[in-house]
Every structure is written in structure tokens, then in C-alpha cells.
Homo-oligomer: 447 residues x 2
Amino acid sequence: MRTRPLKVALLGCGVVGSEVTRILTTQADDLAARIGAPIELAGIAVRRPHKVREGVPAELLTTDATALVKRGDLDVVVEVIGGIEPVRTLITTAFEHGASVVSANKALLAADGASLHAKAAEHGVDLYYEAAVAGAIPLIRPLRESLAGDKVNRVLGIVNGTTNFILDKMESTGAGYSEALDEATALGYAEADPTADVEGFDAAAKAAILAGIAFHTRVTIDDVHREGLTEVTAADIASAKKMGCTVKMLAICERSADGRSVTARVHPAMIPLSHPLASVREAYNAVFVEAEAAGRLMFYGPGAGGAPTASAVLGDLVAACRNKLAATTGAGESAYTQLPVSPMGDVVTRYHISLDVADKPGVLAQVAMVFAEHDVSIDTVRQQGKNQGSGDEVAVEQGAGGRRAGEASLVVVTHRASDAALSATVSSLRKLDTVRGVASIMRVEGE
Amino acid sequence: MRTRPLKVALLGCGVVGSEVTRILTTQADDLAARIGAPIELAGIAVRRPHKVREGVPAELLTTDATALVKRGDLDVVVEVIGGIEPVRTLITTAFEHGASVVSANKALLAADGASLHAKAAEHGVDLYYEAAVAGAIPLIRPLRESLAGDKVNRVLGIVNGTTNFILDKMESTGAGYSEALDEATALGYAEADPTADVEGFDAAAKAAILAGIAFHTRVTIDDVHREGLTEVTAADIASAKKMGCTVKMLAICERSADGRSVTARVHPAMIPLSHPLASVREAYNAVFVEAEAAGRLMFYGPGAGGAPTASAVLGDLVAACRNKLAATTGAGESAYTQLPVSPMGDVVTRYHISLDVADKPGVLAQVAMVFAEHDVSIDTVRQQGKNQGSGDEVAVEQGAGGRRAGEASLVVVTHRASDAALSATVSSLRKLDTVRGVASIMRVEGE
């Protein structure tokens, strides 16, 4: 084993950073054996140097992150601060001073991955970020390397633990969204400001990263269609159950049917209970990958948390260190296909639409006509009493038309249609006198 | 892009080899873009050159595999022949002539992986074998690289599709072993001679490979305890159901509690229906990995078949080609822990034992005494009529002792105990006059 240790600096020492430090210390011998040289922790940049951090050597702490990445003797910089700036500048500076970078920063990678990759390549160093998507689950590396000889057509995943926890609670207890969110907050699964999770920003960043890698093109978070889960109701979940489905917050990256473009989107959707993603409970993550030769693969595990994220960071760190020792780099960005990202209107899928309608003869015929006018084919129609999901369902067959005074609820499930056609259909439906309101629209995926 | 193509030779052109050839041809541009240089298929060694192989260029076929690997201008040799010899010699010769090797050969890797790795390292080339375990599922690379900074404590998996198909059929239809095997054979899931699958040799080879990588030590197939599934009965499966379990053929690699040794074994076992592996149906494979920081991860997908296996082979081929271009190699064997493999007697788990006993007072007390004498603690006892699994169960509580003329069946589920203690217990039970026979012993895992 070579004597000179590999010098590693850490930017950030929160939940993940502390865990990385702990493992670097307690597993030092194993890491050295696996890398071929010991790791020396050269410095840790923090904002609050006087905060007590158990197991973190106080003499390594500094508030001057810029000076740390400019040292010039670092082999690898591990970034676990998060956010865009000052992190982007720090990472770029690290590259310029010859260090490879391991990052867990989904927001930055999804916003500006291409320029970071270019900068790393320019300076002959690595940029790894397994921890940015789905925590401990090996996903970036399998997509980039194990499937490098295959053609990925779809990535469909639960990549946000907070929203999966909320939906799982709603499903298992019948709770509404607010109640489930409160429980998630109380248990530490949701942050005080849950916006990034519940509005889908976190999942959208991950979808952008996954789509770029899966399709060898460039996708940023701005390319990802995003809908949050705040409007999912207990009635939606009850309605999903009736269809043999469950509601999940999904990140979906797809190659178009003609292969000339891709789409990336994040939204709540119904999936059949028989789909492997349906049984992903609590805050777990799971990602389904469909590739032409490999078929359907699934990767499952904890998507967040200090230790799982640290596991992913350390896997990347070992890889970056091995490359430094061998004076080489791993595969860089692969964006050669330059496939454009199509708008949401081009996405083709199925829809579950719940309408509040006047309860009188002819309504179903009117509604069906609107769908037909927009070439959206109906799979099933279900008419039920206003108190959806309570079990007091009436007249079920298409054409039967429940007869009750006042209002009724009509649930339509379509065959595959473009999002644009569906939107146009819904606009027309809203104009019907007999349609009092569109209670919910949810996509049906995974079939 | 550099002009000189990377020269690749293929050893074997059966189901997997044909698929590799097809993808090399149809996806040539994508592969070239991902590697950074085109691949030139330099030759294909086959036994029967005149067999019609659609899409395989006849002019590339040769029966002289030795001359092919000795060409000296090959960058990578892909081996999809299988078996120990002449493959070992061919691979070694390829290394000696400067070629990296991608192999799908579990038998060879499990028998002699260490010497092949040493030979590859000696000649500065790569040896990759993702396809040797669980077909298309990325597993070797995630274990070797993504989890390189973590400590794996257990690998628990369904790694043989044939036996999973048979058990799934037995479970879903109530069929016996022979009937289910016949169906597997008719559908092409089982070979004419199913020995390698049903006796666990195939799974044992995979367990040896996984254990070696997971624990950074050397494990060969001879170190793996192996039991086939030919003795699993419909009664066992019915009994598992009563416990809220299902029966799966598992490969289990574990680090001992004191961390000083490892074990590797392959046998049918009961696992709770709530365990993610319980819902793996038909011929699918899935592997559960438990690591200290990452927690519980699962990898799921098709474990065999031409296209899935080709996907894994091509991922390795891209990696080997990239390394050749960069004049480097990937990480080699990691066996630094030198942890010994303990015998099966040291394995600690739970057991489900089904006894045929005389149906008279005091039998349960006698049986319980034998367990106590060997320090094997009983969790539950269930007594039932001879016609197991038919639902005509009688007296259930421990100590109640069903009273029927003739024989009864006693099902004992233990707490955790060593395999040695359980074996000693069973030997003693067989000596009791009141125990007419030991109908089955099955381990209970995944809890």
C-alpha cells in the first residue's frame, strides 16, 4: 500500500456529513484496503464551528470553505451542503484545483449538471453523485454503467420518501392530506416547510437527473412537468382502491414511441396494486427501470436519512479515490443523443376523471360525446352518490345513469390519450351546464 | 472519436451469444458513442459453424477458439460458453494475450475466481462477470462499487428462476413438486436435466460469488452448504401458509454475529409473506442486501434469458472497452478480509419441524424435553391430523395434545438456534418411540 494518504475535504457537516465523518473514522482500515491507500480527512467546512458534533475532530473544522477547496492538495471534495450557491462556486473551484467531487446535491445537478460535468472533464477529475437520487439505493451507477449496453425506455419511480409516507398514511388510515402531513411532520419525515417535497420540486430534480442519464441527453429541472400532491383527497384514494389501484407520487421519465424525444414528469398517479411499486410503504423509495434487453428491473431501499445517504457518498468516494490512485477518471457525462424534452401535452397515458354532474337523464351521453369529440376513448364509467368512497355507490354500468335528485358523481377512466387531448376534453367538459365541476383528474400509470 | 475500433471476440454463440451479437450490430452507434470508439466484432468461436444463426455474420465464425484468443490484437473477449474447461484455459490465454474478459460463467467464477482475478491483474486487464449472477439485475457492480464504502452484513436472495417458478406453481396451484417441475420443463423454464437448478448447484455458485464480493473474502462453491428443493412437499407449503409464510429457494450469505467469519448456504426456506422476497413470482430473481449504513436494499428483475443476460454482458463490455481506451483497469478482486467460511453447524436461524408422532398423552412433553435438552427454544407448537394442509386441524395450543387414535402430526417452530443444535435435537427426536418419523425440517428466514 502506498504511503501518501488521499486527502479528502468535507463541505457541510449536518446529518449526512457527520455520518460520513463517523464512517471515515470507524471504517478507516476497510476503506484503505478497498481503495489501496488510506484516506486523510483534511478539513471540514461548516457554518457554525462551535456547535457540538460528536465524533467530529474540532481541529478540522473551518468556516472558510473557499480556502479549503483552494488548498491545492486535495484529492476529493465531498459536498453535502445542498442548494445552488455558494456550492456551485465551491465545486467549480475544487475542480480547478485538481480535486474530484462527490456530491449529494440534487438541486444543483438538476439545474446545472452539464456545466459541472464539462468543468470536471476540463480539469480531468470526477464528478459523482449517487446520493443525489434515492439515497442509499444504487441507481445512478447501475444506469450509467450496468445498463450502458442497453436501451432504457422508461424510468418510473417513487423517489421522495416524504410524499410516499403521506400517501401511505392516507391509504392505510383513510386520513386526509393535512392530517397525514401532520403525522409526517411529527415523525420527522416532513420538514417544517414541506413545500419542496409536497409540491414535487425534490422529485422533479431527481427525475431530471435520472432522465438525463437514462436517455443520454440533457434534462434540467425546468424540463420536468411537476404537480404536487396537496390536492389528492381521501376520495381519490378510495376511488383508486375501487379500481384495484393505489395512489403514488411518481417520477416518470419516458422515451417517446417514435424514439425522437423524451418526457419527464412528477405527479400523483394511480398504479395497479399488482405493480411492484404499489407495495412500497412508508418513506421507502423504489425505482422501476424498463430497458429493451434487460426487461423490467426494480431497485428498492431507504431513500433518505443520514446513514443511507452516507453509504452512497462513501461508495462514490471510494470510486473517486481509486481513480485518483490510478490517475484516471470514470465515465463522464453521456449526452450524445441530444434528444429533446417534449412538453407535457405530448405525454400519452390513461386518466381517471371524477366529475360532479347534474343527476338527470342524458348527462352521461353528453359527457361521452365530449370525450369522443377529442378522440379520447373511454375505458369505463362509474356513477356514484355524492358521498364518494363511502360505499353507497349506485348504478355502475355505462349508459345506466343513476337517477337521483340533485347531483351525482361520474368517474371516467380513459384508454391511452395525449395529455393535450385530455386537457382539451376537460376544458370542454367544464363548459357543459350539466357538469357542475371537475373534482379530480389523475393519471393511471404502470400498466 | 478515435478511429481504431476496439476488437472484441465472442466465445460461444448460443441464446446469449446470439443476442450479444444482435445488439452489437443493431446498437453499434449507441455503443460507440458511449464507449468513445466503435466496437469491431473480430470473431466468434462456435462448435457448429454450419448451424443457421440469424443476424450472425457467417464469415466471423470459427471453431478454433484457441487461435481466436491468441490473435493478440483483441481488446476484450466475451465468454458465454459456460463450464470449467476448456473455458478456463481460453480465458487465461486471452489474459496472456492482453485482452480483458467479460464472462457469464458462474460455475467457473465460483470454482476458481481467485486465480482468474490474479491472472487478470498480472496482465493488467479486466475480468467482469455481472451476468454470472441474477441475469440482467445489476448486482455485482452495486456490491463491488456502490457499496464499497459500506459494510454488508447479509445477502439474501432468490437467484434461480427455475426453482422459483416451481415453488410459485406449487404455492399458487397446490401442485406437488413433480407436477410443478413438469410444467416448468414444458414451458422451457427447466432444462431436460434439471439437476443443476433443483439440487441448488446453480444457486450455490451464485452464492459463492456474492459472498466473496459482499464480505471481501474468498468463497468457492465448495464452501456453500447446499440443499435442493426436491423434498419440498405440498404439505410444507400449506404449513408455511398457516404461519403467514411462503417457501422460497434462498441463497443466504451472512457475516457471523462476532464478525469473524461468514457463512453461505442455499436451501428452501420459509419467509414471511410480508417480506419483499415473498412476492417475487414466476422465474424472476430478487436479491436483498442488508448493509450497516445503507440499510435494506432490494434488486429485482429477470434472472435469466438471452436478452437480459446479454444486457448484463454488454454493460460489462462497455466498461471493459472504456478502460481499454483509458489504458486503465477497474477494481480487481477484493479479498483482503480473509474471513473464513464457517460450517453449516454454526449457522443460527429458526426452524419449522414437522413430526409424525403417536397420538397419545405425554408425547408433546417428551418432544419438548428433547428440544430443551439441546437448548433449542420452542416458539410455537401446532398439532394436527395426519392429512396435513387439508384444513382438518385439531387441538392447536401447546400442551393441549390432540387425542386421536393412531398418529398425529406435530409442527414445532423454534426460536433462533444453531444448525448443529437443531441437528442434534432431530437425531434425539428420531430415537423416541413416540416419534414415528420426521416429515420435514425447514428453516425460517427473513425475519
